[in-house]
Symmetry: C2
Subunit: 157 residues, 2 copies
């Protein structure tokens, strides 16, 4: 054995493993922070997406955030029960539900955005701002292939 790999594991040298561990820590930090206001990560993500996209269907929310339609139902049930979003039938397409942010949803979003930001600051505490930007750039290029990013399709309009 000419290698000098006395390190705990060859596994740790694989990007997929490190990504998994880093993501697990990020998820845990964010989840713990959001639990302070009784919310979970996906709840905040949906709330934030609704705020940006305006009244939007559940299907489009799911595509934007890579959330399973089944899970989306449960998430929106929670958010609706808490009065954070409104779920009204879309007049133009009666299959769809128009999800919109309520006033208390806007207020809650301000809280959760702060909590999410703080958790991410703790997650990347060991990194300089430049390194954090660097990391984001690298991650985007890894995620890219599976994030169509709702490209403006000329054939649909």
């Amino acid at each position: 054995m000419s290698e000098t790999t006395r390190a705990p594991a060859r596994i740790r040298s694989l990007p997929s493993w490190l990504l998994g561990r880093a993501a697990a820590r990020g998820h845990r930090l964010v989840a713990e922070a959001l639990a302070q206001v009784g919310m979970r990560m996906m709840h905040h993500a949906v709330l934030s997406a609704v705020a940006e996209l305006g009244p939007v269907s559940q299907a489009e929310l799911g595509r934007s955030l890579s959330i399973d339609p089944k899970d989306m139902v449960a998430i929106l049930n929670d958010l609706q029960n808490d009065g954070l979003v409104t779920r009204a039938p879309d007049a133009k397409d009666r299959r769809k539900n128009a999800i919109a942010l309520s006033p208390s949803g806007k207020r809650r979003l301000i809280q959760t955005e702060r909590l999410g930001r703080e958790a991410n600051d703790e997650l990347t505490a060991a990194l300089t701002p430049a390194e954090r930007t660097q990391l984001m750039g690298l991650l985007v290029r890894i995620v890219q292939p599976e994030e169509p990013c709702v490209e403006t399709d000329p054939s649909s309009e």
Copy 2:
């Protein structure tokens, strides 16, 4: 709204979100590759760790890889049923099981290491070797706080 955030989501600008998406893709690529030989990611991780650490207890394996003891039981049951590892009671500490690699386990590990490497190459295909190294360095510093890495504790010996 004076902001120019017409981007799909503020969520995507959070490290935790990008880490989650990148990790999801990595997990999917590796899982698909390992499925070719009927194995899962954790199976390969355990196999690789056993190869490095030699005969080792289940508890230490779990700590090394951050695997829940409950899941470790199931994983080792699978590996043992496939004849890839041996699980013998430790003579020195009869609470422990000494997990060791079998000859067929060594052979299987060669396969899974190649599959894992290829999947990670595809995962980081958009990155140059230098960027990949850069990414690994940044990730290590994010994961660090939760990976004690079995530091030699002077108080225990």
